[in-house]
Structures are given as structure tokens and as C-alpha cells.
């Protein structure tokens, strides 16, 4: 750049350029694009210097000291802590109320413990110490410490507690127990129970009450309670598998199987099962295999269909 022009630019910035010099500079700026840019740059700088001169003065030292005290000792800090405290209190209140609410919900909707034996016998100790064996395809629901509901076959050895009797809810009644060992079978149409020792009280849904003494065997059909002397093997030795038979009539055997596996028996053949005898033991844990064995022995077809043993002609 021309030294002369530079001088004039400096003079413009300094504010002491003459009129001639200004017009000279204007002519120069028209000569080239760069010149115009340079002139505009100088004008821009000059404007900023002028603007800078109009700025108000502020004491930044004093301001910094003021700010510093705020930073070290913020005036709003107690408000902040109060806010934190409020949030914490709100959280605790919400949390406790929600958990309380859920606990309450939980108490109301707490599902009963359910024990179901499908293809093996289940032997359990209940919370009160009572030993229970649950037969195949049978289900035991624990309603509370001393109250259960049974569907199917089970043997109980109840812990003694005279103050709090043990109750078994059945399909057609209740058994109240003080402390004893007994077996019970319950299904949609029939209930059977056998008392080994102690004393149990049976109450049907129609409020008929009977007391069983050791060795008693009771069947309940349509609300009729019948004491029988001939105790079926499967209840007497409820969970002593395999089932052993000597010249036992076939209908009894099938009845036992039905109880053992908790299935119904349906005879569709024209043969009287009472007139047929069975000797031997059924030691298969799988009902299908047992039925296949029986099918091999007799001139009958034993089939399992929808929880039902169907007997038909071959």
C-alpha cells in the first residue's frame, strides 16, 4: 500500500485528516475493490473506537468483590437447601404412602400358596409343622397357618395344637383336626377319609357332623355319610406305592387308580368289572403304562382321555 495513503488512513483514525486528504482517499478507494474494503475496515475500526468512547465506566473491582462474596456465601443458598429439604420430605411421604398402599394391596390380594402334585407324590411340611403327602394330580391350597383346601388325595400328619384346630376344606365339607394322622380323598362327586390315629371331626356343607375314631373309614356321596369297614388299600396305605392286589375285583382296582391319579373311571364296555379279578402290583408311575398293562391282561381297552379312564370293548 502507498505510504502516502497509509498516512492518510492513520490521520483519518487520528481524526486530523484535511478535506483534500479525505477526497484523495475517496478517489483511491474507487480504484480497486481491495481499496474500498480497506477504507471500510478503517471506518469500521473508527466507529468502534467512537462507540468505545461512549461506554459508561463501571468499577469492575468493586463488582468482582461483591460477586465474590455472593459466590462464597450465596444469599440464596438457604432457599436452595430448603428446596432440597422439601423435595426429600415429599419423596419420603410419597414413598411411604405408595409402599403402604402396595403393602395393603398385597395383603388383600396375596395369593394362597398352592401345592399341586402332577406326576409324582409331593411330600411337604406345612408352616405349622404338619406333614402332608399330596397324591398325583391333587392340589392343596394353604389358606392360612392351620387351614388348607384340598382337591384330590392327601395324607396329613397334623401337629397337635388344641388351641388352634387344623382345618381341611373339602368339596363337600370340612375336617376339623386337633392332632392326628389321616388320609383324605375329595373329588367332585365323592369324598373318602381314613383316620389312622387321634380324632377328627367332619362337617358336611349341610352341617351334618361326624366324629371319626382311629381306623374309621368314611365315604361321603351326595351329602350322605357312610361308615364302612372295608378300608380300600389305597387310602389305608395312601402313599404306599406300588399298589398290591390279591384277587381283588377289577372295579376296586380301577377305583384305586382313579383316586391315586385323581382321574375318573368310565366303563363303556358291557362287561361287569366286579366279576373280574386282579392279582399283582401296579408299580408304574405313569398311568398310561399301567393302562397299557391292563389292556394286555384283559380283553378290554383301557384308555386315558381328558382325565378319564375309558374302558371299552376291544
Amino acid at each position: 500500500m502507498d505510504k502516502n495513503i497509509q498516512n492518510i488512513l492513520d490521520k483519518i483514525l487520528a481524526g486530523n485528516a484535511s478535506k483534500e486528504e479525505v477526497s484523495m482517499l475517496n478517489d483511491w478507494s474507487k480504484e480497486a475493490k481491495e481499496n474500498l474494503q480497506e477504507l471500510n475496515k478503517i471506518k469500521d475500526l473508527n466507529h468502534s473506537i467512537d462507540q468505545s468512547a461512549t461506554l459508561q465506566a463501571f468499577d469492575s473491582e468493586v463488582a468482582f468483590d461483591r460477586l465474590n462474596s455472593k459466590m462464597e456465601n450465596p444469599a440464596s443458598s438457604w432457599k436452595k437447601y430448603l428446596l432440597y429439604a422439601l423435595w426429600i420430605i415429599l419423596f419420603i411421604v410419597t414413598y411411604t404412602s405408595i409402599s403402604h398402599f402396595w403393602n395393603k394391596m398385597g395383603d388383600e390380594q396375596k395369593p394362597n400358596i398352592e401345592m399341586a402334585a402332577t406326576n409324582t407324590i409331593l411330600e411337604e411340611k406345612l408352616p405349622d409343622g404338619t406333614d402332608v403327602s399330596i397324591g398325583l394330580n391333587s392340589k392343596l391350597e394353604i389358606l392360612d397357618n392351620r387351614k388348607v383346601r384340598l382337591n384330590g388325595l392327601a395324607n396329613f400328619n397334623v401337629t397337635k395344637n388344641p388351641k388352634n384346630p387344623f382345618v381341611v376344606e373339602l368339596n363337600h365339607g370340612n375336617i376339623t383336626v386337633l392332632g392326628t394322622e389321616f388320609s383324605v380323598f375329595t373329588s367332585q362327586n365323592k369324598e373318602e377319609m381314613y383316620l389312622k390315629e387321634g380324632k377328627i371331626k367332619y362337617t358336611t356343607t349341610n352341617k351334618v357332623q361326624v366324629e371319626l375314631k382311629p381306623g374309621d373309614y368314611v365315604t361321603v356321596t351326595d351329602g350322605n355319610v357312610v361308615f364302612l369297614k372295608n378300608v380300600p388299600d389305597n387310602l389305608k396305605n395312601a402313599f404306599n406305592y406300588p399298589l398290591k392286589y390279591t384277587k381283588t375285583n377289577l372295579s376296586q382296582v380301577l377305583d384305586d387308580l382313579g383316586k391315586h391319579y385323581n382321574v375318573k373311571v368310565q366303563n363303556n364296555s358291557n362287561q361287569n368289572l366286579d366279576s373280574m379279578n386282579f392279582s399283582g402290583k401296579l408299580d408304574e408311575d405313569n398311568l398310561k403304562n399301567v393302562l397299557a398293562d391292563l389292556s394286555g391282561i384283559y380283553n378290554l381297552e383301557f384308555k386315558l382321555q381328558n382325565d378319564e379312564i375309558l374302558i371299552s370293548q376291544k
Partner: protein, 156 residues
């Protein structure tokens, strides 16, 4: 306070931010309050220490302040002042960013040159007044000023 970055930013921009807020329509004391709130916030959130960001913060803080304290009438008057003085917000921001650039350059000048330049250009003293106060010749003042302007022109 140990954050030297913040201290540096504060020292070099506090006056500028106050002036910016005043240009938006605040009075002298309010502009200091607003600027300090913004700077406190910048310190708390550890930056960013950038002028453009700080200007935006100041603007927002000032709007907040107006909402809290002014009646609708006062507020609209303030905004009218603002809009009357400046065609757009960007223009005002650009102006202050340029002033900041100038300040940055001036800070780089040798100490005596800087002093003389500020006395002349910012405080508006004549060469002879400066020469008198500094106990130097007018020629020296002239030389200092021209050195300063040359540096600024070359680096602008």
C-alpha cells in the same frame, strides 16, 4: 476464588456487559445487577466464557427482570427505546463484539502507548492535555497515538 479463567473473563467483559444491558434500556444500577447475576451463573455452571453467549444471557436476564419488576407500560417503553436505537438485536450484538475486539487489541499495546491512546480516544483528552499530565512532549504523544492506530489498523 481460584478460577483464573473466570476472573479474566470478568475483568475484560464486565464493563461491556453492563453497557450492553444499559443499551437494552436498563439504568446504571440495574445493569450492574443483571450483569452480575449472569456472571454468577456462568461461574456456577463453569462457562462457557464467551462474549456472544454472555450477551444472550444478559438479554434473557434483562427480559426476565423486566417481566418481574415492570408494569406493562414501562416494559413496552423500554422495548421501544431498544427498538428505536437499533434496527436489530444482531446489529447491537455485532457492535459489542467489535468493541470487545478493539479492547482485546488495545490490551496488547505497550503500557504507555495504551495509556495515552485511552486518554485520547476514550477519555477525550487533547494531545497537549495528555502531554501536560504525563509530563511528556506533545510530539511523543503524537508518536504514541500513531503507533497505537497503526497497530489497530493492521490487526483489525
Amino acid at each position: 476464588m481460584k478460577d483464573t479463567r473466570f476472573k479474566y473473563f470478568f475483568d475484560n467483559h464486565y464493563q461491556l456487559l453492563c453497557n450492553y444491558i444499559m443499551r437494552l434500556g436498563a439504568d446504571y444500577d440495574t445493569s450492574e445487577d443483571v450483569a452480575q447475576e449472569v456472571l454468577l451463573k456462568l461461574w456456577q455452571q463453569k462457562g462457557p466464557f464467551e462474549l456472544a453467549y454472555a450477551l444472550t444471557c444478559c438479554k434473557n436476564k434483562w427480559i426476565d427482570w423486566c417481566r418481574k419488576t415492570s408494569s406493562d407500560k414501562v416494559r413496552s417503553e423500554k422495548w421501544e427505546t431498544l427498538n428505536h436505537n437499533h434496527e436489530s438485536q444482531e446489529e447491537l450484538d455485532a457492535e459489542f463484539i467489535k468493541i470487545n475486539k478493539l479492547n482485546t487489541l488495545v490490551r496488547q499495546l505497550p503500557h504507555k502507548t495504551k495509556e495515552v491512546f485511552i486518554m485520547n480516544k476514550i477519555n477525550g483528552l487533547t494531545y497537549s492535555q495528555i502531554a501536560e499530565r504525563r509530563n511528556i512532549s506533545v510530539k511523543t504523544v503524537e508518536n504514541q497515538i500513531s503507533t497505537a492506530l497503526k497497530f489497530l489498523r493492521e490487526n483489525w
